[in-house]
């Protein structure tokens, strides 16, 4: 069984082929790193997996279930969660409300127009637990707009963890962070239990290499190299494309 299988996925924007014939198979519990230069189609691949973009051809399967035609929002009910490279949170709301919205998204309660959300103490308690996992429970009542960039990155991860995912897609979780903040986020990501499969896009090789078990190198929308960390690092194509040597 594979946790996430992508086969022959293709997507073009007009004449620009951003994804052409990408195939991937990620095992349950695996830590997969996706690297590649800017414009390699890494984020597009995530958008295709989550259904935020429709592929021109190809198939996507989650734990051997074909989800190619499943509407995007349903896929998140089936165990996919993602973070965004550009922080996509609710700036006017508190951290607690941000995470609460994440928990609510998978609950039938989200359709209820009659009960006060502020009285859902069980939900709030769970949101605090998730915030504690990312070390932000002491800021629960603070509006997101008044937090630091590094804290927001951790809220991004908290939003995805709150969804209790089976497959977690992290899109450059270290982008724009200081060295210290990177270490915090890395510790957080490393601490995620093995029943969660993780696929991570990352530019920062120093941080990401330690994390990855297998690496996929994308270039111009194609998989150029794939293998274990050692194989990919040693591969001449990697150096040529990614490291520019």
């Amino acid at each position: 069984m594979t946790a996430l299988a992508v086969s022959d996925l293709a997507k073009s924007f007009g004449g620009l082929r951003v994804t052409s014939g990408v195939s991937l198979a990620v095992e349950p519990g695996e830590r997969r790193l996706i690297i590649g230069p800017n414009g390699a189609g890494k984020t597009t691949l995530f958008n295709l997996i989550t259904g935020e973009l429709k592929p021109d051809r190809g198939a996507i399967a989650l734990f051997d279930r074909d989800i190619t035609r499943v509407p995007s929002r349903r896929r998140f009910h089936l165990g996919i969660a993602r973070t965004y490279q550009i922080i996509t949170l609710f700036p006017r709301e508190t951290l607690l409300r941000n995470v609460t919205l994440s928990l609510l998204g998978l609950s039938r309660l989200r359709w209820n127009p009659l009960v006060p959300l502020g009285r859902q103490h069980a939900l709030a308690a769970r949101a605090r637990e998730v915030l504690a996992r990312v070390g932000l429970d002491h800021l629960a009542e603070r509006p997101l707009a008044q937090t630091s960039y590094g804290e927001r990155r951790r809220v991004e991860v908290a939003m995805a963890l709150a969804q209790n995912p089976r497959v977690l897609l992290l899109d450059e979780p270290f982008a724009g962070l200081s060295i210290e903040e990177r270490r915090d986020v890395l510790r957080l990501v490393t601490g995620i239990p093995r029943d969660v499969t993780i696929v991570m896009i990352e530019h920062d090789m120093d941080v990401a290499l330690d994390f990855a078990e297998r690496i996929t190198v994308l270039h111009f929308g194609e998989v150029v190299v794939e293998g274990t960390r050692a194989e990919v690092v040693a591969h001449p194509r990697t150096k040529e494309i990614y490291l520019g040597e």
Binding site: R73, F76, L89, P91, T100, W111, P113, L114, L117
Partner: protein, 313 residues
């Protein structure tokens, strides 16, 4: 702390016909109340959903037209209400299905077009709507033995409906569904990634908004005992939107304050100033310049500033 002013406002509203000098002002208060219901309905979309509709007079008007046709056909008032509101809901569903193909400017333009279609039907389909002459009805209902024929009776009935509308808004906004709707306004993409059905949330909000617009339209019909294409014109949609924006979008009190402002200007100021529209326009300019988020949030900000300034002194 907020309980006391609310209780005071409630007592003032409930006893208004007893202390207000003359029925003219009682009637204006009734107008304010049903326009406030309309503005509250528009605010569900413009404020909490971030979807600016310029076609809501179509829903406001279609309730009145459906009501007027039902009354003319001889139905009792409770059946009339059901027919009018059902017609509004069906129309709102059609509006939503078409307008929600876009957001932002696309949504605005589609709602303008839909509103204009309703206006066109009201104005030109004379065999049904009587065109520019409108439809006149006679008699107001007698719910629970209260005659709405008198200005006082009508005011109290409208006040009850208004309070129901306000309460429904307060409950809705604080609910999980209300939070979902505001989430789709602020981060639709993230909401989808959290498993929310963004389109359906907006669609249901549109129906809720349409429902209260229809209720307000029916009250308008009973108040004026007359409906004409003027009621569904683009300017009527714009006026409702101005109430929401001037009072403060995505606030409970904003649309009410906006309704007071517009209705008072229209009725009272026009008695003294011939070019009252000019005055209204000038007021809006002042609001936009000094309180761009509306009178209610602006006043709250000024009050907070004044308190801290006093504290320092």
């Amino acid at each position: 702390m907020t309980r006391f002013p609310l209780a005071l406002a409630f007592v003032a509203l409930a006893t208004l016909p007893l202390w207000m000098p003359g029925t003219y002002y009682v009637n204006i208060a009734s107008q304010i109340l049903f326009y406030a219901i309309f503005a509250l309905g528009v605010n569900v979309l413009a404020g909490y959903a971030g979807l600016v509709s310029l076609g809501h007079a179509g829903l406001f008007g279609i309730a009145a037209y459906a009501g007027a046709k039902a009354i003319t056909a001889g139905y009792g008032h409770s059946v009339v209400a059901v027919i009018a509101l059902a017609t509004t809901l069906v129309t709102a569903a059609v509006f939503a299905a078409l307008a929600l193909r876009g957001t932002g400017l696309g949504f605005v333009m589609i709602t303008v077009a839909l509103g204009q279609i309703v206006w066109g039907v009201a104005y030109r389909w004379i065999s049904i709507t009587n065109g520019d002459n409108g439809i006149t009805i006679t008699g107001r209902p007698f719910p629970f033995g209260l005659s709405l024929a008198s200005p006082r009776g009508f005011y109290w009935a409208t006040l009850v409906v208004f309070l129901l509308a306000l309460a429904s808004m307060a409950v809705f906004v604080a609910s999980p569904f209300g939070a979902s709707l505001q989430g789709t306004r602020d981060q639709p993409r993230r909401m989808n990634a959290l498993g929310y059905h963004v389109w359906m949330i907006r669609f249901l909000a549109f129906l809720f908004s349409g429902f209260w617009s229809g209720v307000a339209g029916l009250l308008y019909l009973y108040y004026n005992q007359f409906v004409s294409p003027q009621m569904v014109a683009l300017t009527a949609s714009a006026e409702a939107l101005l109430m929401v924006i001037s009072g403060g979008t995505a606030t409970l009190l904003g649309p009410i304050v906006g309704a007071v402002l517009v209705v008072v200007m229209k009725n009272v100021a026009s008695a003294y100033i011939e070019r009252w529209n000019f005055v209204l326009g000038a007021i809006f300019v002042v609001i936009v310049v000094f309180m761009p988020d509306g009178l209610v949030p602006g006043t709250v900000r000024v009050a907070r500033w004044a308190r801290s300034a006093l504290g320092r002194a």
